[in-house]
């Protein structure tokens, strides 16, 4: 037993952090990228057209309606997604009727080319969606097992966050302290700083993350207390569905959706449409629901306007019945996923997510840094545990970003007709991650760190170049077309590469400094003071010239 409460909390914090640190790093990184999953998907489907400026919502709705009337007759629901800041293309979707024996049909989503009104065929890719899925479903594992694994890690993270606050005695006095020194002090300070500045976020994200699979983790509780009927009642309260009329199978021409949109504009006093859901199209019971971007993390009934598509009247009652539990649930999920976030808030989410990722990374590095002096003095070299942690650190903290860049490379370089292309893009990512995890076993730690950092820099900075060589949606064209989303993506890749390059450079000078200092100290120790002072500087200068 440790001597006091704080010490046992410190032990606990270290252990829970260490056991699941790498999985959490993976989850944090894929989750942070997931905030921009639509943007990533857009970049990974370069066949999609550039953004079209100065086109009215009404015209977009007309194009969509033409396409859907032709290709999606007789389905229950049409979805029309207008271009927005996150995805600059007009998209339509509908659920196909179920195949024999299946309960629900497959959902078909298509991008429409605004100039031709026709669909756009893009390469088969998982896009950002696959990356974001890995955040909670991992990969190569059956879904249920992933949910449990992810839940286990999140629970340990929650414990780590709470114990972290408990052991940080000087949380208020040291609020702004960051002593940027080498070694233990620097890493401890940065770990504290990163954790504290985003503490509300860390706590929120872990707690809300656990809520997602509540019914998996607390299955005993709900099964023992509720009958089947009560269970479905409860689910309806928490996950309310849009209520709408079913198709009456009586065809009737409905008004143009662009005309119906006027009703929504009247309600909102603004032209801010996000997407449209059309139920029972071209039927006597046709309705259209116009939805704008969320204005509340729980529920704002005015965000959706339901209109009778045949007569053009607004249907007054709220399409969704929201209860208290529904609003709490939606609130937490909205917070976790940042559904409500506009461009600036989304970047804030992204940066804060990166802060969380860096927090985990700094904690892992802190562990090895603290134990390094003692481990390096051991007779047969450092312990297996220490070496394992160091290897996993290098392979994950630098290796996983490289692997994600490989995912993007695969998207650009794999042949388009490759069967199972989606799986192969992910395979490339994991194969490269595996290589990068194994590689540090064969190199001394400092060299491995430096080499992987340099590789990361190279890989990220070269990616916009590969983009120029393989597609026409590269940064030069994007700037000319003023398609800022694609510009931002290529630019971010380059900046990330530059950050890695800077880290590699800093790491090199730090490790070299140490060698220079020890050599100079030895030179001075073997000579006497006074006369020889100048001579002892010479080797130092020579070395400096060699290395710079």
């Amino acid at each position: 037993m440790k001597e006091n409460f704080r010490q046992s909390m410190k032990w606990f914090h270290t252990w829970v952090g260490l056991i699941v640190g790498w999985v959490l790093f993976f989850m944090f990184l894929t989750g942070t990228l997931g905030y921009f999953y639509q943007e990533i998907t857009r970049w990974m489907e370069p066949e999609r057209p550039f953004i079209e400026h100065n086109i009215s919502n009404e015209r977009l709705l007309d194009i969509a309606q033409n396409y859907l009337s032709e290709h999606a007759q007789g389905v229950d629901e049409w979805d029309i997604m207008l271009p927005n800041a996150r995805d600059q293309n007009l998209r339509v979707g509908w659920r196909k009727p179920p195949a024999a024996g299946a309960k629900r049909g497959k959902y078909q989503k298509t991008v429409l080319d605004i100039s031709t009104g026709d669909k756009v065929d893009s390469r088969a890719t998982g896009g950002g969606r696959l990356l974001y899925r890995m955040h909670y479903r991992l990969h190569y594992l059956p879904t249920k097992i992933s949910y449990w694994l992810v839940g286990f890690c999140s629970m340990l993270m929650l414990l780590a966050v709470i114990t972290g606050v408990v052991i940080h005695k000087k949380i208020f006095t040291d609020f702004f302290t960051f002593r940027a020194k080498k070694g233990l002090v620097g890493w401890l300070d940065i770990h504290n700083v990163l954790s504290v500045i985003a503490l509300p976020f860390h706590f929120m994200i872990t707690y809300s993350g656990l809520l997602f699979f509540l019914f998996t983790y607390m299955v005993l509780s709900s099964n023992l207390q509720l009958s089947d009927d009560e269970y479905s009642e409860m689910r309806k309260e928490i996950f309310p569905r849009t209520s709408h009329l079913e198709s009456a199978n009586e065809p009737k021409d409905m008004l143009k959706i662009s005309h119906l949109y006027q009703q929504a504009k009247n309600t909102w006093q603004a032209d801010e449409l996000s997407y449209v859901e059309v139920f029972a199209a071209n039927d006597i019971n046709a309705q259209a629901q116009f939805v704008r971007h969320e204005t509340d993390i729980t529920y704002n009934p005015h965000d959706a306007v339901m209109v009778n598509a045949v007569t053009g009247e607004v249907i007054i009652q709220a399409p969704k019945e929201y209860t208290v539990s529904g609003m709490i649930h939606n609130g937490f999920f909205s917070l976790h996923e940042g559904q409500f976030a506009g461009p600036i808030a989304r970047w804030i989410y992204f940066i804060t997510g990166l802060i969380g990722t860096a927090m985990i990374a700094s904690g892992l590095i802190l562990w090895t840094t603290k134990r390094r002096p003692k481990q390096m003095k051991k007779l047969n070299g450092p312990d297996f545990g220490y070496r394992l942690v160091e290897q996993l650190n290098i392979g994950t903290i630098v290796g996983l970003p490289i692997a994600i860049a490989m995912y993007f490379y695969a998207n650009r370089l794999l042949p388009i007709e490759l069967s199972n292309r989606v799986n192969w893009e992910a395979n490339v990512m994991f194969i490269s991650w595996a290589i990068l995890l194994l590689y540090p076993a064969f190199r001394p730690a400092t060299k491995a760190w430096r080499e992987q950092l340099q590789l990361a820099a190279l890989v990220y900075m070269a990616l916009p170049l590969v983009n120029i060589l393989t597609t026409d949606k590269h940064i030069i064209n994007s700037v000319l077309q003023q398609d800022w989303l694609l510009v931002a993506f290529d630019l971010s890749l380059f900046i990330i590469g530059a950050c890695f390059a800077f880290s590699a450079y800093k790491y090199k000078t730090l490790t070299l400094d140490k060698k220079q200092l020890t050599k100079a100290a030895k030179a001075r120790a073997t000579k006497t003071k006074g006369v020889v002072v100048d001579k002892s500087l010479l080797p130092l200068q020579a070395m400096h010239r060699e290395n710079s």
Partner: protein, 96 residues
């Protein structure tokens, strides 16, 4: 409009507890709290209670990160940066 508001939240926060000068220390803390409260008010007014609070926390995170990095590497620039940012903020308030 909305964009300017967010700029506001971030920048207003810069004039906070950590005073580099040591003469008017007594005033710093209460002023800092006042500024924080006014930032909260602005955020909630623009985005409503639910999103406003979430955005406020996010903006505070980024602002604190910037402040800490500046403090560590360029401590002398903190007062002029703070003054500059609050000027930008006040101007954007007036514009909207």
């Amino acid at each position: 409009m909305v964009l300017f508001c967010l700029a506001m939240d971030k920048h207003r926060e810069q004039i906070l507890d950590k005073c580099i000068a040591s003469t008017v220390v007594g005033f710093c803390r209460p002023t800092a709290w006042l500024v924080l409260l006014s930032t909260t008010y602005l955020s909630v007014e623009s985005f409503g209670w639910s999103i406003g609070v979430a955005v406020l926390f996010g903006a505070l995170t980024i602002a604190t990160l910037l402040l800490i990095l500046l403090l560590t590497y360029r401590a002398k620039t903190v007062p002029p940066v703070a003054v500059l940012l609050s000027l930008i903020v006040s101007i954007s308030l007036v514009i909207r």
